[in-house]
């Protein structure tokens, strides 16, 4: 007896098989792209135009609309990768391995964006591009973890061994995530404390908060599009000799 109803189990079983996943990705990508474009335009309009200037920081604060959502994504994607790593190690599901390694460059991209936009915000506000404070340093370590995962995967020839090594690294590195999150509370840092996630009373005005949340959701949709595109490439690489890829090639020719 399965915990899930048969239909749900069947859906996951079929979706996790490479040819079905490939077709499913093709079907979802256009819709995800439409939703992403609508959200990003709304978020940019709200953040760059509608929202008022900050009374202390002027218009420089508008970097928040990419800085904070990108930083959230850098943590979110890493946690997802660690979960995929756990699934790959325990159940040996090929799709979990593919999703793990496909997520790594996107996570690295968001971490890079968080660091660079933070630097571009820090220069006019703090007077420096960079300080070795706890938040900035732990986020930089996150970038190295992402790059480490990418290069470790590239360095091991055998696909299954590479996936196992990368899964272990992703799981071990997850200790850095709470360190990044709580760094502004545990240490006395130059980086400011949280303004949004204080749910009882967010210290940010609603006209500034709404575009920020829209941008955060837009970045989630971006991740879905990007990860599906990379996963399609990764699946083709791994399964290039299989029957479904041969059929795919015949159909497109």
């Amino acid at each position: 007896m399965s915990v899930f109803p048969d239909a749900v189990g069947l859906f996951f079983h079929r979706s996790a098989s490479p040819p079905h996943f490939y077709a499913l990705a093709d079907r979802f990508i256009p819709w995800l792209t439409v939703i992403f474009v609508v959200l990003i335009l709304a978020g940019l309009y709200g953040g760059l135009y509608l929202a008022p200037s900050d009374y202390q920081q002027g218009d420089s604060y508008r970097i928040i609309y990419i800085h904070v959502p990108a930083a959230w994504m850098s943590l979110f994607i890493y946690v997802l990768m660690a979960i995929m790593g756990g699934i790959a190690l325990v159940w040996r599901i090929k799709l979990a391995e593919v999703m793990l390694i496909s997520s790594a460059p996107i996570g690295a991209g968001f971490t890079f964006i968080a660091l660079v936009t933070g630097s571009l915000w820090g220069k006019p506000m703090w007077g420096t591009w960079w300080v070795w404070d706890a938040r900035l340093t732990s986020e930089l370590i996150l970038l190295f973890l992402y790059l480490g995962i990418i290069s470790l995967h590239g360095a091991i020839e055998d696909q299954r061994n590479a996936a196992r090594a990368v899964s272990i690294l992703a799981l071990v590195g997850v200790v850095n995530i709470p360190i990044i999150h709580y760094s502004v509370e545990w240490w006395n840092t130059l980086h400011q404390g949280p303004t949004v996630t204080k749910m009882d009373k967010p210290s940010i005005h609603i006209t500034m908060l709404v575009p920020l949340l829209i941008m955060a959701i837009a970045f989630k949709f971006y991740y879905l599009i990007a990860v599906l595109q990379s996963a399609k490439l990764e699946l083709l690489k791994r399964e290039s000799g299989s029957q479904w890829v041969k059929t795919l090639l015949e159909n497109q020719a």
Partner: protein, 54 residues
């Protein structure tokens, strides 16, 4: 608000627009690179398949 004051970003134009520009480029790269690499791979695979069929 005129277009000029919008782009001036209250004197922070360099910081704000560099941040948005770099973000745009990184996000674009992470979409385009898998798409282009996949197209290239599909071309190679279909060439190999045609040779194999002969």
């Amino acid at each position: 608000m005129t277009l000029q004051t919008f782009f001036a970003m209250g004197g922070y134009a360099f910081y704000v627009w560099s941040a948005y520009g770099i973000t745009f480029l990184v996000l674009l790269f992470n979409i385009l690179s898998p798409v282009l690499l996949r197209k290239q791979l599909l071309r190679q695979l279909s060439l190999r398949q045609k040779r194999g069929n002969r």
